[in-house]
Symmetry: C2
Subunit: 369 residues, 2 copies
């Protein structure tokens, strides 16, 4: 079956909503945060650990998997789920963002993007059709259209051109896409220009995708700009389709996004900062590698029920991080993902009980960035 989305409840005090995303590999409650498993593994985590902290869906990266191990190997394994031993839903991004942020010497034309691999420097050419075919081979539940993600700031003219090509490419992706259960989402671009965002939504809505990414945000713009873009973009997006704010994962941005009607998020932030010894907690960031925690026998977050916080002290985790021990990276990653996934759970509850605004207010009162 293709992905289906159901809006279960719409907040009266905000634009937030509750929904359910039905996929071949299970149902996902929204708003949802998707941990990132770039190379067919959420760094440091086992599938069982992901499930134990409540993960309902993960994201994996087309660009990275195309380079290593190659989609042919993943397909031969029986698809990404079997390859990595993950039986819940997977969303794959199209590789568009990675081609523009990671690859070298890219050359963009309407046909596609020529670039060099960031791994071995080999010359590659990516097109909307190719990005779609790779994702079909990977067999994710949700594939994304290949798009152009302009940096911030970009001129109106550059953003207009990127948005124009993104729509053309969305058509080509849709034409090429054909899969037993995988659904293809469009990606809204338009930078920080209201008319371009609205035009992008309109054009993509005409193509009637089963869901829409909001791309081109969290690319260096101030948070206020991101919130403003969401304020004029989300309300014009199709009401019955899931809205996915791509690459956003700080706790405050998740809550602000939810309030503005976003249903899905992904970001490497919680896993990346975890491996650097930084934890997200109910009282703000705890940089557990700091010397001040050398004899701190408290858990990372006194208000947390995760495996890490129930069993280990800040002092022990600091010791592990300082000595480059892998268990340290595992423990901080478990904690950070549990923190964000629990935050989503609490936000869903707050939406249902019509107290999202006060929930966000309380969050800001205790959380120091």
């Amino acid at each position: 079956m293709s992905v289906k989305y159901e809006v279960l409840y719409e907040s009266k005090e905000t634009n937030a909503r509750l929904g359910k995303l039905y996929t071949e590999h299970g149902v996902v409650e929204t708003p949802v945060f998707m941990p990132v498993g770039t190379l067919a593994t959420v760094k440091t985590m086992s599938p069982e650990e992901l499930k134990s902290i409540g993960t309902e869906i993960i994201l994996s990266n087309t660009y990275h998997l195309h380079l290593r191990p190659g989609e042919d190997i993943v397909k031969e394994a029986g698809g990404l789920h079997k390859f990595m031993n993950w039986d819940k839903p997977i969303l794959t991004d199209s590789g568009g963002f990675q081609v523009f942020s990671l690859a070298d010497l890219r050359d963009i034309s309407e046909e596609g993007v020529a670039f060099r691999s960031h791994i071995d420097g080999s010359r590659l050419f990516m097109t909307p059709e190719k990005a779609t075919e790779i994702q079909m081979a990977l067999g994710s539940d949700i594939a994304m259209c290949f798009d152009i993600c302009p940096p911030y700031p970009s001129t109106y003219q550059d953003t207009e051109e990127a948005t124009r090509i993104t729509t053309l490419w969305a058509e080509r992706c849709k034409r090429r896409h054909e899969h037993q259960y995988q659904s293809l989402f469009g990606i809204v671009q338009g930078g920080a220009y209201e008319d371009l965002r609205k035009k992008s939504v309109e054009e993509l809505a005409e193509l009637d995708f089963p869901g829409y990414g909001i791309g081109g945000l969290s690319v260096g713009e101030p948070k206020e700009v991101m919130y403003e873009v969401l304020e004029y973009t989300v309300p014009v997006m199709p009401r019955g389709k899931p809205r996915y704010l791509m690459g956003v994962g700080s706790p405050d941005c998740l809550l602000e996004g939810i309030k503005r009607g976003v249903d899905m998020f992904d970001c490497v932030l919680p896993t990346r900062i975890a491996r650097n010894g930084t934890c997200m907690t109910s009282i703000g960031k705890v940089v557990v590698r700091n010397a001040s925690y050398a004899r701190d026998w408290n858990p990372i977050d006194p208000n947390c029920e995760c495996y890490t916080c129930k069993n280990y002290s800040r002092a022990y985790i600091r010791h592990l991080i300082k000595t480059n021990e892998i268990l340290g990276l595992r423990l901080t990653t478990i904690h950070n993902l549990h923190f964000l996934i629990s935050l989503m759970h609490e936000a869903r509850k707050a939406i249902k009980e019509e107290r999202l605004n006060s929930f966000i207010k309380e969050f800001y009162e205790s959380y120091q960035d």
Copy 2:
């Protein structure tokens, strides 16, 4: 309580035996392999994972913990067990081997060893008393005497001197040792010289330790030399006390050691080669990082029941190892430790059923090093 050892069964066809080691933190069946948790963590593994593969006791390193985080911090945590969330027995080595193999610019006198830290180059002085005090602070179940471990080959004269000092230091360790439940084991030295080994055993036996390490092996000598040393050393060791062959962990050496009457083993080998993409299997070494496994959908070891082999293919694990993903290191480590611990379990069964020789013969027939 101090550690107690009980010999349960003595093989008729070999010098192997079955025993039970009673400690404050539980009972250990011997012969046993102890995974190494150098820095208060068995690299990549959680305590729950260690238990799930049947780990009954682990080893940790006095030298490393003295440098980082320092025994005062571990003591403040309530000891090593609480610090690292491991409630089963722990053996700490004395740091003797590490001082001689890792530290820089060491200067040995009868008083102790002056050396420089391999971490920050700071000047340190280790004595038998100090090594004992550190282990008392760590609160392991079994502490080891501070000893001198000569390299292979060493002259008779050098080995004699090292063995003489090792006995003097064993007396000083014993005099200093005082702990509620921790027991102190002596370490037999004597290199590859039969008379020195026998003298070392005699002198240490007079000090009546509750257990004895066999040190100075697996330091570069051919395996045949190790086996020969065991053949003339083990039979003269006290029958009622556990015999611990230090730093030995290849499957063949474990079996040959068991056959010659050894009860305990430890080694970084299974965990170290795991992180390099090499697996121990029932058919010999599988270097899973090799290109030949890129499309191999079999488990690492078709005869294995571990978590890794039940859930993941060689192709996936190869992909993880090639892309430096931590899950890959976790999966190969789980497999290798499970392999050795299961091998010990099977060897115990073979001893009980008086078929250890045929068990070892079958092992060599399928295992290729």
